[in-house]
């Protein structure tokens, strides 16, 4: 065991490719098993990974730089592009950071609508993940079903906000509009479909002997690794850590909603998948609660002065929300002008895909790399912005 792995010197493993013992292999960026556009540099010995290095930066557009030279309202079209499959968290957090600095309280109805927006997008993002996770273990059928259901959720977004992917629904001071007439029935229909699908997933995927044989015991995250690697969200909850930003630091109207933090204790790929499966049920229940209790009348947004010349008071703040990958945060510094001084996006994929994946991948069979990677649920655009 010990001589199988190359020695680690100064935090880096040292290997000699000429010895013929190790093979260097790249996976990605052109690779169907890698999430999005990133690559893994793997050193393998036999069928086992002995060293893994994540390479990112293929999607870097320099958001933080671009936002420094755009006015606050002009930043809105680009913040949602930071995370493609789940843009609404970005929109909300950017608005929330601005509102925090400006001392604005958004109307009650806007809060409910923002929560609804984020929960729906959570459902869509999880459906996308389930497609990836089952696909990584070769279960194409579940992947196809999942992405079809995700598309029905996107249809709801389209009817509501007018866009499939980038909704740009949350604006500073409120939201863009209410829900359309008769939309609630469409939501209920889609949710019933998703619930039926989740039952089937339980039968076909979670109770499947092959899936179990591969997922159980793979990529175990011990509870003591949680703080050392900055693990958050469902990945941490899969290791039995009871943490959820929605409960711990309630924002919007999450303190008025009825839900529990879902956890599993095993800390492997199967446990993380199970946590996400439960959280999809949770999201469905939250959407139902919101639609039932949401105020139907009232202002949607407060009136701001001319937004192009909006000056945000000097100061700095950090706001966070629970995305599907875990704690998502915006750190905003304003110097009192019409341009933001500095915005840093804290994406959970950042620490998961880089430090944690490099640590977990060592010793894993090469066929399991993508199952492991998908179980961390990383979205490359939010790593490199």
């Amino acid at each position: 065991m010990s001589d199988k792995y190359p020695p680690i010197v100064n935090g880096k493993s040292v290997y000699d490719l000429e010895s013929g013992k190790y093979l260097k292999m790249w996976q990605g960026p052109q690779h169907p098993g890698v999430t999005g556009n990133m690559s893994l540099e793997l050193i393998i010995s036999g069928d086992q990974i002995v060293d893994c290095k994540t390479h990112v930066g293929y999607l870097h557009r320099g958001f933080e730089k671009l936002m420094e030279r755009r006015r606050y309202i002009n930043c809105f079209p680009i913040v949602c592009r930071i995370c493609v499959p789940e843009p609404d968290t970005n929109e909300y957090l950017f608005a929330a950071a601005m509102e925090d600095l400006m001392g604005i309280e958004v109307p009650e109805r806007a809060k409910w609508l923002r929560t609804l927006n984020m929960e729906l997008s959570r459902l869509a993002s999880f459906l996308m993940w389930i497609g990836g996770q089952s696909g990584a273990f070769g279960h194409g059928t579940v992947a196809q079903w999942a992405l079809a259901h995700r598309d029905f959720v996107l249809d709801l977004f389209e009817e509501w906000t007018g866009a499939r992917i980038y909704h740009m629904y949350t604006t500073p001071g409120g939201v863009r509009g209410g829900t359309p007439e008769g939309w609630d029935n469409h939501v209920e229909r889609v949710l019933q479909g998703v619930e039926k699908f989740l039952t089937e997933v339980n039968h076909v995927m979670f109770n499947n002997a092959v899936f179990k044989s591969r997922a159980v015991g793979l990529g175990i995250i011990a509870p003591d690794m949680i703080d050392r690697f900055g693990v958050v969200g469902p990945v941490a909850r899969g290791s039995g850590i009871v943490r959820d930003t929605r409960k711990d630091n309630p924002y919007l109207i999450y303190d008025q909603l009825d839900f529990n933090i879902e956890t599993e204790t095993a800390g492997d790929v199967y446990a993380r998948a199970m946590v996400r499966w439960k959280e999809m049920h949770q999201a469905i229940s939250l959407i139902r609660q919101i639609i039932k209790r949401m105020p139907r009348t009232g202002p949607l947004h407060i009136t701001l002065p001319n937004v192009l010349h909006l000056k945000v008071p000097a100061g700095e703040t950090y706001v966070r929300a629970e995305s599907t990958r875990g704690e998502y945060g915006y750190y905003m510094v304003s110097d009192g002008t019409i341009y933001p001084r500095k915005i840093t996006v804290r994406g959970p994929s950042y620490s998961h895909a880089m430090a944690l994946l490099e640590h977990l991948a060592v010793g894993v069979n090469i066929a399991d790399t993508h199952g492991l990677m998908l179980s961390l649920h990383t979205y490359p655009p939010e790593i490199e912005r």
């Binding site: 960026p29 169907p32 730089k65 992917i165």
Partner: protein, 235 residues
């Protein structure tokens, strides 16, 4: 060491010191002519590994046969599974149950050797452009490029970004553009339908265009990819 190792090692390899290069270059002159590439950014050892032939335009077959071939090509478009930008997110609905392009004879293909369509999904950063060029050159012709999203056309909302190129057609030949941010899957399917029409009419000759204007494309690529450390043409 296998091929891909060499390629990836070469991505990180430092250029050789200039003096050794001049010493040995004379030995290699005999095999250089106007049909070969210089691969001057590679070390001498690496120059031995890589092919230095220039891409050549290929003449279409005799009329009716080419028509039949074009029909087959247009009904069996294999997309390279390379999500280069945000546009890749619409690739998944496209290949799955809702929009299902497999009914049109398309399917995603995991290796560039077997793919015939390159779908550029949105903005292209410099680091990705390098891989796009490599993947594109590894595809076997006739090959087609569909550029999806506004950012691939004119930079879109990243027009002032330091890390994205502003128009993809200066770097690889593009057959069809699909505008929008994001374009809906229907729009992408419409783009593929347009590509089919072009192939059927024999107008989608991007591969030959690339071979004919190879020096121009290569100069454009090298202008933005500052650390060009791969062979000039990746077979």
């Amino acid at each position: 060491m296998t091929d891909i190792d060499k390629i990836h090692d070469s991505l990180e390899a430092k250029p050789e010191p200039a003096d050794t290069e001049t010493n040995n270059n004379t030995e290699r002159e005999w095999r250089k002519d106007e049909k070969t590439l210089t691969n001057s950014e590679l070390s001498l050892e690496e120059q031995d590994w890589f092919c230095d032939a220039r891409p050549q335009p290929v003449k279409p077959a005799w009329g009716p046969i080419e028509k039949f071939y074009n029909w087959a090509r247009s009904h069996s478009l294999w997309i390279l599974a390379f999500g280069t930008g945000c546009g890749a997110i619409e690739l998944r609905p496209l290949v799955t149950a809702r929009y299902d392009i497999s009914r049109l004879g398309m399917q995603p293909r995991p290796t560039p050797r077997q793919a015939s369509v390159f779908m550029i999904g949105g903005y292209v950063s410099i680091k990705t452009l390098k891989r796009i060029v490599r993947s594109y050159e590894q595809m076997q012709g006739p090959k087609f490029v569909v550029a999806v999203c506004s950012c691939a056309i004119n930079g879109g909302m990243y027009w002032d970004s330091y890390n994205t190129i502003k128009r993809i057609d200066h770097y690889i030949p593009v057959d069809v553009y699909v505008t929008g941010c994001m374009p809906r899957p229907e729009a992408v399917i419409a783009g593929f339908t347009k590509l089919k029409e072009l192939i059927m009419a024999g107008k989608a000759e991007g591969q030959n265009l690339y071979a004919e204007k190879f020096d121009w494309y290569k100069a454009n690529q090298k202008q933005v990819i500052k650390d060009w450390n791969m062979p000039d043409y990746n077979w």
